[in-house]
Symmetry: C2
Subunit: 190 residues, 2 copies
């Protein structure tokens, strides 16, 4: 555990917060500056329909400069009482899907060196479409339903570039396969 | 694809570069400001010994504020001619392990919305220790050897919090299981 000697924001607005700190590490060495990013927690959803399809979103991501497939989700808003509530809200807004059987199955980090927030994974089973999406005015998101085996094949072949989301799919499948070995076979894991 | 109207650095030093842009999206809407992070490419290594153990590192990560297990790796330096060279250099420096059978098996992103760089995965088979680590003076890294099944069990139970690295382990295992079904069983995937 590092000791923090001083801490200040270099940037802080509605969209970003970058903190610069002077720290002392385990071996009494000064680490300065050390930069971290503050965000609300992220929540993403592995939503699976009764016929074993995953609900995905395709949208342009400006960091990478490409349209890519990802899990639905976003940031936990102040109005969201829990990560589960945030995930289900984002799922319904972005895709029009709801779930009657959902739970948070893990909390991770996108990048533990730089990000101070958490990335929660909601597993949403028995996902069903309401037929209504309510995307933010700034969003342009296509909804893509994909058989779980096809998603794993995409991850294997490099056509699902978000490594953190690939990790969430892995965690979700490991969780599901414990009680449903059929899913491990469907996913092509064996 | 967004059109970039203007672009400037809000922060730029040896450790960080934050760019602020004004963009026009697919529907001709102004997106301003949009922030992205520039880094050299990241390279991480799934190194496996002949007895099916994974070479991991444990270190304090200040974003999360915890000691955690991760894959060895780091940034591609200007002297590294390829992502593969960068990954093998980081593997040897951090852990003392070398590999006689290594390849880049995929290129991903930690967070495609925010990060402009790539995250490459090196698969390093037949990993063997030279007995010499050459960690940076600023690093305090413990080397941990772990049977592949134990690593997957940790990912399943939430004890491997780096979601992007969990994704890389997933990609590596899917790649390996294609030619070595024994590994899928060892990993507990089925």
């Amino acid at each position: 555990m590092w000791k923090v000697l001083s801490s200040k924001y270099l940037l802080k607005d509605r969209w970003i917060a970058v903190r610069s700190e002077a720290c002392v590490d385990e071996k009494a060495r000064l680490v300065e500056p050390y930069y971290t990013f503050e965000y609300p927690d992220f929540v993403h959803v592995l939503a699976i329909t009764p016929d074993d399809q995953v609900v995905l979103v395709r949208q342009y991501r400006h960091g990478l400069g490409q349209d890519i497939l990802e899990l639905p989700g976003g940031m936990q808003d102040p109005e969201d009482r829990t990560p589960l509530a945030a995930g289900l809200r984002e799922l319904e807004e972005e895709t029009g899907y709801v779930s009657s059987r959902s739970e948070v199955i893990g909390s991770y980090s996108v990048d533990p060196a730089k990000f101070r927030n958490r990335l929660h994974l909601v597993l949403a089973r028995e996902a069903a479409s309401t037929g209504r999406v309510r995307q933010d005015p700034t969003e342009s998101i296509d909804v893509v339903l994909m058989p779980i085996g096809d998603l794993v094949q995409r991850i294997r072949s490099g056509q699902f570039p978000n490594a953190a989301h690939a990790g969430l799919v892995f965690c979700g499948l490991l969780h599901l396969a414990r009680t449903d070995p059929r899913l491990a076979r469907l996913a092509g894991l064996c």
